[in-house]
């Protein structure tokens, strides 16, 4: 039982990271039907910005988090303006390939400047390095931080999307871009805002991964990015609650496959589950069946 609960905590921590990254994929897909491959590299940039804030400028965790989120927001908007916007009315495949190009560009430019070797975050001290033991279950302060920040950001996101004017605009654009434009919604601003939100979340995930695992490298976005994308598809791509559920689902699946099946099969199992769910429910866990009108 103890072990089970400990694994649940492990699953929640991993799942939170996937969920945070998955939100960015799903929002961008929801609004312009683009799989933004560069998203996982913004996650990596967030980790590096946090690293430099904490080592070179000796800032605390929270200021570093805000700076990382702010810079990632700007990078996200810049990528959209420079690389995706000029292609908005061309074939979807062109934008997709551009996204892959942007992703590789960011990875290898970063590698040039920071060198390919992994770097470790500065050791945390005081409150941040505490471990709480409750009945034989260990919870580290970092795990609490990851889950806490993830939940706060998700609530904030839900609020923005459901309760604000720009959130309403986002929902309108994702339903029907042309109709939204006819209603006087500024589509360009709305799309930029979506990229900004998603990138800020990815930046936050990056710095959280940095302090939790203590190891960052220029290609660190690869596997978490892929799994977060899977999480987004699993939950129903384009749906914000779907990304959260998908993220936690993948996190739990991974942890429990290791705990009760075999660690060698971790990724094989996770992706097998994905295939099964998509066969049964092609639109994802929360997705609605929509028929293409002829």
């Amino acid at each position: 039982m103890e072990q089970f609960l400990q694994q649940v905590i492990n699953g929640i921590s991993v799942g939170s990271i996937y969920a945070l990254i998955a939100l960015g994929y799903t929002m961008v897909y929801g609004i312009i039907k683009l799989i933004n491959f560069a998203h996982c590299d913004i996650f990596m940039l967030g980790a590096y910005i946090g690293y430099f804030c904490m080592t070179s400028f000796k800032l605390g965790f929270l200021p570093s988090l805000f700076i990382a989120m702010a810079i990632c927001t700007l990078v996200g908007i810049a990528i959209e303006k420079i690389a995706y916007k000029p292609l908005r009315n061309t074939a979807r495949i062109a934008v997709l390939i551009t996204a892959i190009g942007v992703s590789l560009f960011i990875e290898y430019t970063t590698m040039f400047f920071v060198k390919p070797d992994p770097r470790s975050y500065p050791p945390l001290s005081g409150l941040m390095s505490k471990t709480y033991s409750i009945g034989g279950i260990n919870i580290t302060m970092q795990q609490i931080l990851i889950v806490g920040i993830t939940i706060i950001l998700m609530i904030l996101l839900q609020f923005i999307v459901k309760r604000t004017k720009i959130g309403k605009a986002m929902r309108a654009v994702s339903l029907d871009r042309d109709a939204a434009e006819l209603m006087g919604i500024n589509v360009d601003t709305t799309i930029s805002f979506t990229f900004a939100l998603g990138s800020a979340l990815a930046g936050a995930a990056g710095i959280l991964v940095g302090i939790y695992y203590n190891s960052i490298n220029p290609l660190m976005g690869g596997m978490p990015g892929l799994k977060a994308f899977v999480a987004a598809v699993l939950g129903g791509i384009g749906l914000i609650p779907g990304a959260m559920i998908g993220g936690y689902f993948i996190g739990f699946a991974e942890v429990f496959v290791i705990a009760y099946v075999n660690s060698l099969l971790k990724d094989a199992f996770v992706f097998a589950i994905l295939i099964l769910i998509l066969i049964v429910k092609p639109s994802g866990l929360l997705g609605k069946e929509t028929r293409e009108k002829v």
Binding site: N10, S13, P118, Y213, N214, S215, I258, L264
Partner: protein, 383 residues
């Protein structure tokens, strides 16, 4: 027009021919240095070459080999196997080297072996530890390939014996890097030796390169009863496993192999997590052997830093080949190869070594203990 072209062609051929026929100076011994100076394995290559250059400098200062100075021809294979083979051909046919040192990694080294065998020029590596480097898949010894480092199976065996004898461990858990031959080979040999000497492997877990979360694996094994954890893998992931294990309160000894030998391990795991950690390595800077202390001092004088295992292996490799050239009857590849095969009791920084019938060295290995991230003791284990 045709005539003009053929004249041009003739001139071209003539110049290349003459260029290739640069007069060989009989007062020098040409040695090729074919290493990963850029690309993914650059740190290994660069470290090895630092050691090699120190050794060549020392040998030349002492009068060279039988009165002839060593002239190194250094090339960069960019950590690319095809490039390594191409450069080996160039070194042999164009630069007329008598032996090639390097490359550092097993893959690149293996790629140049066919070139060496064809041209009858010996090649030697200081750090190609894969099982099948000097013996081809069909069991035939690669005639012109040598190495001075032990292979992976030896490391696994030594660590298993060390666990059961020095740490009196009965039960072990293996957490291996299942994405590399290195990790799988070490795990297999550790398991075989450990169980045959009466121990049991309680659990065998696996991870892949670039994984960062090992909490699920560690939580799973935490409830079990065992005396040691063996982590056959590289420092990137091993550092994180050690950190997360200690954070979960798993305070039993952790064992590893030469993949632990990097300052990055200390950065990733944190010094306070690196207690009761042991790993097998080629050499330890704690060794009080006069050969080792002399090497460390010379290295520090030239480069201003502590030598690591690759520096030491590079240094040994150059001296190992120079020693064979000195003993060779003639200055031909064949004759040097015979001298290399006959090496016995060669005194090197990384231990006394002899070459066996499979062109592998028979030499000692050290087990290093870390305390607060610092090497505190080393035990030499002879084969």
């Amino acid at each position: 027009m045709k005539k003009f072209l053929s004249v041009l062609l003739f001139c071209f051929i003539a110049t290349t021919l003459f260029a290739a026929c640069t007069k060989t100076d009989t007062n020098e011994i040409r040695i090729g240095i074919n290493y990963e100076l850029s690309g993914g394995s650059a740190t290994y290559g660069q470290s090895s070459v630092e050691g090699i250059e120190l050794a060549i400098e020392e040998i030349n200062k002492a009068g060279g080999i039988n009165g002839k100075l060593i002239k190194p021809y250094k090339v960069d294979n960019n950590s690319n196997e095809a490039e390594a083979a191409t450069l080996a051909t160039r070194l042999i046919t164009q630069d007329k080297v008598i032996a090639i040192l390097g490359p550092a990694t097993s893959g690149c080294f293996k790629a140049q072996i066919p070139v060496a065998n064809k041209n009858k020029i010996p090649v030697a590596s200081g750090s190609a530890t894969a099982e099948d480097v000097t013996v081809a898949a069909n069991g035939v010894v690669q005639e012109y390939a040598f190495r001075i480092c032990f292979n992976d199976s030896f490391q696994g065996r030594v660590m298993a014996n060390f666990a059961s004898e020095n740490l009196s461990a009965k039960k072990a858990v293996i957490i291996m890097d299942s994405s590399s031959d290195y990790g799988k080979g070490l795990a297999k040999n550790f398991r075989d030796t450990f169980t045959s000497s009466g121990g049991t492997i309680v659990a065998e877990e696996a991870y892949v390169k670039d994984d960062t979360d090992f909490n699920a694996i560690l939580t799973k094994i935490k409830g079990m009863d065992f005396d040691v954890i063996y982590i056959p893998g590289y420092y990137n992931e091993a550092g994180l496993i050690i950190k997360q294990a200690r954070a979960q309160g798993i305070n039993i000894p952790i064992l590893g192999a030469d993949g632990f030998d990097s300052p990055v391990l200390v950065e990733l795991a944190g010094a306070e997590a690196l207690n009761d950690v042991y790993f097998t390595n080629h050499y330890s800077s704690l060794d009080k052997d006069p050969k080792v202390t002399a090497f460390i001092e010379a290295f520090k004088n030239k480069y201003g830093k502590e030598p690591d295992a690759f520096n030491a292996l590079g240094y040994d490799l150059a001296r190992f080949v120079a020693d064979a050239i000195e003993r060779a009857e003639k200055l031909t590849g064949e004759s040097v190869k015979e001298a290399l095969e006959a090496t016995a009791g060669f005194e090197s920084v990384t231990g006394t070594l002899s070459v066996d019938e499979n062109h592998n060295p028979v030499k000692s290995i050290v087990v290093i203990e870390l305390e607060n991230g610092i090497q505190v003791s080393s035990v030499k284990v002879n084969p």
